[in-house]
């Protein structure tokens, strides 16, 4: 599925947006080893301020490892990483209040309620000098005891964080009773609580139902509007297409391709497919389009013909190829059954990378 180009991408495409932009995240020649296993094998990329950058890849591609180095969980085996110009390990203390992290899983105190968990994080953010500016539409009263647990008031800031991710009805529920998707949403609320300048989202919508996924996307889009820089990992192509200004496809510890969605998709080529009656067609019968010979497959008494156009002029190559094809069909008096012209998709690129590297 292709989404309409957004204004930010237009700005980038014209060069107006990128010039002079400070890189909030910089990764240079990063390698990361666990024992003998090299999870990341030398990658470089930079994310300018205010951009949403997606690391796309299968499980084990090295996405989370890359994130964890940027988050300061592990020192890089080799190479350099900078977040807001700071070293995530040596300048952790300076960096911490300015960064929000959503981990892939777990890490909650199950016996705390959802509101208490947000309160704890909110308090720690305030202690670190980053007051929470969210304000919910309501607050919940406290000061009574329910089943042996003292119920505290839930203030507007905490409710604001819960409303942001649609958990306001779960404020008094213990965290251990939340579903997987609800825990992910709580995680998101904690990550964005202190209005971070940089947000790391590690597979943010894994385990979420479609509605929660849309809520999460909306949260990320709003943060982007507010100028937050976001690095997210995902294995959902749709998510990367929808959210990312730019993306990189990782596989087995390497970045195989990167750029805007359009740039990346352009590398996959445009597809022209149709069907001819009979099975007597061979390569010699059909024209080369844009210098490319077709792929023929025979089935059900007909011949499926497919061209993949990879010409340099990504905008007009399909159009340019159709003219000689039509001329050929007219000359031969053949009808091109089920003629389809389709742009390449992110999935085509993804499958090619994963498939190629797997061979």
């Amino acid at each position: 599925m292709i989404y309409p180009m957004r204004t930010r991408q237009l700005a980038d495409a014209t060069g107006a947006g990128t010039a002079g932009l400070e890189n909030v995240i910089e990764v240079g020649g990063l390698r990361q080893k666990y024992g003998d296993f090299e999870a990341v094998r030398g990658i470089s990329f930079a994310v300018p301020r205010g951009e949403v950058f997606a690391l796309l890849g299968t499980n084990g591609a090295g996405k989370t490892t890359t994130m964890e180095v940027l988050e300061g969980y592990a020192p890089a085996t080799d190479g350099t990483v900078r977040v807001l110009g700071l070293d995530p390990i040596r300048q952790h203390r300076e960096l911490r209040p300015r960064v929000g992290i959503m981990l892939q899983e777990g890490g909650f105190l199950g016996d705390l309620t959802v509101a208490e968990t947000v309160d704890l994080w909110k308090g720690m953010s305030e202690d670190a000098g980053r007051p929470v500016t969210l304000s919910g539409s309501t607050e919940l009263p406290g000061g009574f005891t329910l089943m042996g647990t003292r119920i505290r008031r839930v203030d507007r800031a905490t409710m604001g964080a819960l409303e942001l991710v649609g958990l306001e009805k779960k404020a008094r529920v213990k965290v251990k009773q939340l579903s997987g998707g609800q825990k992910r949403r709580l995680d998101l609320a904690l990550a964005v609580l202190g209005s971070p300048e940089v947000l790391f989202l590690d597979e943010p919508t894994t385990g979420m139902d479609p509605e929660a996924r849309r809520t999460t996307w909306k949260v990320v889009e709003n943060l982007r509007e507010a100028g937050t820089t976001v690095l997210l990992t995902t294995h959902y192509l749709e998510e990367a297409e929808r959210l990312a200004d730019r993306l990189a496809i990782m596989h087995e510890g390497l970045i195989h391709t990167h750029g805007t969605v359009d740039e990346v998709v352009a590398t996959s080529g445009d597809m022209i497919t149709f069907r001819l009656p009979g099975t007597s067609w061979t390569f010699g019968d059909l024209p080369a389009l844009d210098g490319v010979a077709p792929v023929l497959t025979y089935s059900g008494g007909g011949t499926e013909v497919g061209y993949t156009l990879t010409g340099a002029d990504t905008a007009t190559r399909a159009h340019a190829a159709l003219r000689p094809l039509m001329a050929w069909a007219d000359t031969r008096g053949e009808a091109l059954e089920r003629l389809a012209v389709r742009r390449g998709t992110l999935e085509d690129v993804f499958m090619r990378i994963v498939g190629e590297a797997g061979l």
């Binding site: 969980y73 203390r93 016996d111 208490e116 704890l120 980053r130």
Partner: protein, 264 residues
Amino acid sequence: MRTDVLHAVRLARIDLTLVGRNTTVLFNVLLMPLLLAAVYTSFPTGDIAGIDGELFVLTGVPGLMLAFAVFINLVNAFTARREELVLKRLRGGQPSAMAVMAGSGLSALALFLFQVLLLGVWVHRAEGVLPANVPMIVIAAALGVAVFGLLAAAFSGLTPNAEMAQITVLPVLLVMMVAAPIAFPAEVLPGPLAVISGLLPVTPIVEMMRTGFLGADHFTDGGEQLNMIEQWVAALPSIGILLAWVVIGAVLARWLFRWEPRHG
């Protein structure tokens, strides 16, 4: 620094809330040492080291409390929280590593002091004795929590999961229960064992606690009454041993403590 203190206090309060909500922890941490104290004091004994046997044993009970409320409690907490990725999340959140550790230490100190307070009430009601040197009791508690908190951090690194914690703490628990001068003075142990007992971290804590409660010299076999200054002077070697153990504990914790489960 100020931020670290605020974070540590905040985390300690959450710890105490969670202890209050977990019956198993509540029992192990608060009731277990008191039950053991009741068992220890139920045997009739004559005088020990010049004082009433029951009083001697009761003033040694902080050694047991340290084992349960601090050491076992923290090994369990650190291990369970590591495996549940709570430590990882905290470290990725606002608090520094120091604040996370200090938070756990503070909550353990609060529990320990609360138990010592209960014990003080017990001692007063049973024996009519009021603590002679409260600052010494508090200093002993703080040093005890520092040493055993750090040792707990180190032992949690050796503990693969929360179930195994019961087993990894056992050797330390046994040593603390057997070699510490809880129910008898260290001097009655045969020569080399007495020396070893004196060098263990639990012994100086018990001796400081006992001296703090009774105002008498329980660092040696003597048991004679001391004034406040003499008590502190007599405590100096114990404080020195404990400070050395803080360093040892810190080195071990730095070496063995892990914030995350092992990869794979």
